[in-house]
């Protein structure tokens, strides 16, 4: 079973919250569920959608075609007709005049008096999305009690009145569909009810950080990273942490560096434009050897770009940000489990090696909600490295402690303010072993080498890429980094159905790269295809530079959406037909162009 709903309507109509409710509702029925939101950078009037994919099999990404669309406004019908699966169904508000639309004969249209149903039970116009949710569940024969229980829990804080009217609205939608004999034809029944969590990439990053000992978070609002800030501020007292909204991103990262210097594990979160403002201080963290984690949630650049859409275009930026040379680590989680564990790991690495560590996510992973297994928290172990505990031996008069002592592994002992006899200065200037700013040629070279020498041990902390599918002799191998693992995994399943012996190599530890790991994963790979959400195959370039590996094809998409598994499979099959020959560059662009930004252009 693999069923796809899409809830669509105007921004402010409650589409997002309804989508999340639906994801939770089916997760509780024992299904694997993905809720994938799309919305333009508008607060009012923009077209919002959530695709909810429900399956009893392992699913990893949204599907291109929808089975059942719940249209809360006329735009929803106009936009999504094209992407309906054969024999699909649209449930829409009766108030919508469909006279002007080109309808598809294979798509069933059912008008529902959503406003009337809601108002009749004492609800408000705003609640018609709840009635629509009830209607959608009825169309696939999902038991109403599942939704009722959920509404009770979700709205518990709002009081009995609100709960009652919402349940009534949902029930009205549900009953209308049942009474009028509207049925999709396929049923979704709860299979093995259990309470599995649902979580977005950003929530997983936030929780991974907290479990990983993060005590201080600072950020300036920026889509698609803002939900990390919202989530942590909402729970800061529960977790005993401080999450601070600052006046800008420059302040955010400098606050975090200050807090980390004082001994609190610290993180900032932002997207490309905000990270651009943080770059100078990234170098400060490096020069002062202050641990710092940066969650960089990518959207389309350059500049303001497409604020609410996705891309993997900031990898080279993350790799090269700041003047000068220094060691850093870039981790790119490919799913919510990895987002949780790698963010925790980022905090360990940053403190053990006293370096900045970047966690690269993107709008697709960070804002999509996934049903998942509970995190095995016992796997998170805190490692603080060479942190001084307790007082240090007395210093000679007027002397300072050697915070930046030259060591073999490049890591020096770190004393926190408050530690007796550990006085030193952290500085953005080059400095001697006590932190005193120094322009000695000898000391300069020594300190550069000291910092650089951390890379040797760091390389051992990097895990090899995960290999899926055909491990021995592949005909073709897909390579991904970060979130493109998700559609690529689903593409692997589609290719297997066509008899293609395909492998997927998914990188999460993208820098530093261990060439041996790369070569091992690519043994007997057949043709290699890098699948990246950017226009210049940034990671393919890094593989060439750091592992000496040249990938045969670059499959690239940079139109604002992530790849759909279907697109990866189709393009791979095309390459297969040509005997894996031809130009290196394979571009993928969406066929439908919905132009969400400006509905008026369509005269709607």
């Amino acid at each position: 079973m693999d069923f796809v709903f899409k809830i669509a309507g105007q921004a402010g109509a409650g589409v997002m919250i309804t989508g999340r409710m639906m994801v939770k509702c089916f997760t509780r029925g024992g299904y694997n569920v993905i809720g994938y939101p799309e919305y333009p950078s508008l607060v009012r009037g923009g077209h919002n959608t959530v695709q909810v994919r429900v399956s009893d099999a392992q699913i990893n990404s949204p599907r291109r075609e929808c089975d059942l669309v719940i249209a809360l406004n006329k735009d929803a019908i106009f936009y999504h007709m094209e992407s309906m699966a054969q024999g699909g169904m649209i449930i829409y508000d009766q108030l919508i005049d469909t006279g002007r639309f080109k309808l598809r004969p294979d798509v069933r249209m059912h008008a529902l008096p959503l406003s009337k149903l809601t108002l009749d039970v004492g609800g408000t116009e705003q609640m018609k999305n709840t009635a629509a949710l009830g209607a959608a569940l009825a169309a696939v024969d999902y038991p109403f009690e599942m939704l009722e229980t959920l509404i009770r829990e979700e709205l518990a804080r709002k009081g009995e009145e609100v709960i009652k009217v919402n349940i009534s609205a949902a029930k009205a939608g549900y009953d209308f569909v049942k009474t009028n004999g509207i049925s999709f034809g396929s049923q979704i029944k709860p299979v093995h009810p259990e309470r599995r969590p649902i979580i977005t990439g950003n929530e997983a990053i936030a929780l991974g950080a907290v479990r990983g000992g993060m005590k201080f978070y600072a950020a300036y609002p920026m889509t698609p990273a803002s939900s990390i800030l919202h989530y942590l501020i909402d729970k800061e007292r529960q977790f005993g942490i401080i999450a601070k909204q600052t006046e800008d991103e420059i302040a955010a990262i400098n606050y975090a560096i200050g807090a980390a210097f004082a001994g609190a594990r610290s993180m900032v979160g932002t997207s490309g434009g905000g990270f651009a403002l943080m770059v100078e201080a990234l170098g400060l963290a490096a020069m002062s050897e202050t641990p710092l984690v940066v969650a960089l949630v990518q959207r389309n650049g350059p500049s303001t770009g497409l604020p609410t859409w996705t891309e993997q275009g900031d990898l080279r930026f993350a790799l090269h940000a700041s003047q000068g040379d220094f060691p850093r680590v870039i981790l790119a989680p490919g799913d919510v489990q990895e987002a949780f564990f790698l963010t925790a790991k980022a905090h360990n690495l940053s403190e053990k090696y006293q370096i900045p560590v970047l966690v690269l996510s993107d709008k697709f992973l960070s804002e999509t909600v996934f049903s998942t297994e509970r995190f095995d928290q016992s796997k998170v172990i805190i490692e603080r490295g060479k942190l001084v505990k307790g007082p240090l031996p007395a210093l000679a008069p007027m002397a300072r402690w050697k915070r930046y002592a030259i060591t073999e592994d490049g890591v020096s002992e770190r004393a926190l303010p408050g530690t007796p006899n550990g006085m030193h200065v952290a500085t953005s200037y080059e400095h001697d072993e006590t932190g005193f700013s120094s322009e000695s040629f000898v000391m300069r070279a020594k300190q550069v080498d000291k910092r650089a020498s951390k890379m040797k041990k760091l390389l051992k902390e990097m895990e090899p890429p995960d290999v899926f599918g055909e491990k021995e002799n592949a005909e073709v191998t897909l390579l991904t980094w970060g979130s493109m693992k998700l559609p690529a995994l689903d593409a692997l399943a589609l290719l297997a159905k066509k008899g293609v012996k395909a492998r997927l190599v998914s990188f999460t530890h993208v820098y530093p790269l261990n060439p041996r790991h790369v070569k091992k994963a690519l043994r007997n790979s057949g043709a290699t295809i890098m699948v990246e959400n950017n226009s210049t195959a940034q990671f393919a370039g890094m593989l060439r530079e750091y592992a000496g590996v040249k990938v045969d094809f670059h499959m690239l998409k940079y139109d604002g959406r992530q790849f759909f598994a279907e697109q990866i499979a189709e393009e791979t099959l095309k390459l297969r037909e040509s005997g894996y020959k031809g130009g290196q560059r394979v571009e993928v662009v969406e066929k439908e162009d919905m132009e969400y930004y400006n509905p008026q252009r369509h005269g709607l």
Binding site: Y255, F261, R400, L416, P417, S437
Partner: protein, 289 residues
């Protein structure tokens, strides 16, 4: 017992002979000693500039950060460990120019920080460009025809902006300056001390002589000055403008008792963030939300 000498370091300072910064370091060490703040319990933060080299010359913990970013670094340190005495120092270019955004917002938050600005009305380390506080008409490398921009008024900005302790000192009167620093460090909340600090190399207008002739002590010449009266404080802050720099009051302009930002955070009421355990925080409840 902490003695002034305990704050001494081996390294010789790199300032020009006669620089106002020497007196500021001396007064700061004196204030710290009077307050008996152990070396390891104090953190002196700075930005970048001549004055921002100060953390190197006081034997406490120090953080010489980026140009204009001393205040956010100091704020982060304070939030992570509110048991520490955190002092931020910097110049007028650093704090009122490139870092002015932080200055405006960090005052509003009223962290328990002391912010000392070495205000020499010129850029020193970059060899003599106009600063936000350079006087109208002053000729510098970047204002060959004289400054035309209205000078930034740090005191009125701070009084309006939410600082809870606003004072001015003069580097030519070290004893008075030390007393102001002592009060500022003791004050619970955000304390600004703007210091007239002659730059003997690049500012030939605002010299020791210039200030000595014009400064007067508020508490002496105006014993009725009420530091709790915001409007009166503003009037004093504008005196330099009204008299075209002829009369320059020094001393405490304004004081206010207001809860600090840290006071509003129950999560650090009993223990500073850095004193709380890192491991073992169970996140399962959050997973069910």
């Amino acid at each position: 017992m902490v003695a002034i000498a305990d704050y001494n370091v081996r390294e010789k300072s790199q300032w020009c002979p006669g620089c106002g910064n020497f007196a500021i370091v001396g007064a700061l060490k004196g204030a710290l000693a009077e307050l008996q703040i152990p070396q390891h319990q104090a953190v002196i933060v700075s930005g970048i500039g001549c004055s921002s080299k100060l953390p190197h010359y006081v034997n406490t913990y120090g953080f010489e950060s980026l140009h204009g970013r001393g205040l956010p670094v100091a704020s982060g340190i304070k939030l992570a460990n509110n048991r520490l005495t955190v002092i931020d120092v910097g110049g007028d270019g650093d704090g009122y120019g490139i870092g002015s955004g932080h200055f405006l917002h960090i005052m509003r938050r009223n962290y328990d920080l002391t912010y000392i600005v070495h205000d020499n009305q010129i850029y020193g380390l970059t060899t003599g460009q106009a600063s936000p506080t350079s006087q109208i008409g002053m000729k510098t490398k970047t204002t060959p025809h004289g400054v035309v921009e209205t000078p930034f008024n740090p005191l009125s900005t701070a009084i309006n902006g939410g600082a809870t302790f606003v004072a001015r000192a003069f580097a030519g009167d070290m004893a008075h300056m030390k007393e102001i620093f002592r009060q500022a460090i003791s004050h619970r909340g955000f304390a600004l001390v703007d210091v007239f600090q002659p730059c003997v190399t690049f500012n030939k207008l605002n010299t020791y002589d210039f200030f000595t002739k014009r400064v007067y002590k508020l508490e002496e010449q105006d014993p009725k000055h009420d530091t709790g009266n915001r409007m009166l404080a503003l009037e004093k802050a504008y005196e330099q403008v009204k008299t075209n720099y002829e009369r320059l009051p020094i001393g405490v302009f304004f004081k206010e008792d207001r809860p600090t930002y840290e006071d509003t955070l129950p999560q650090i009421k009993d223990k500073a963030l850095v004193e709380q355990p890192l491991a073992g925080l169970d996140i399962s409840k959050a997973l069910d939300d």
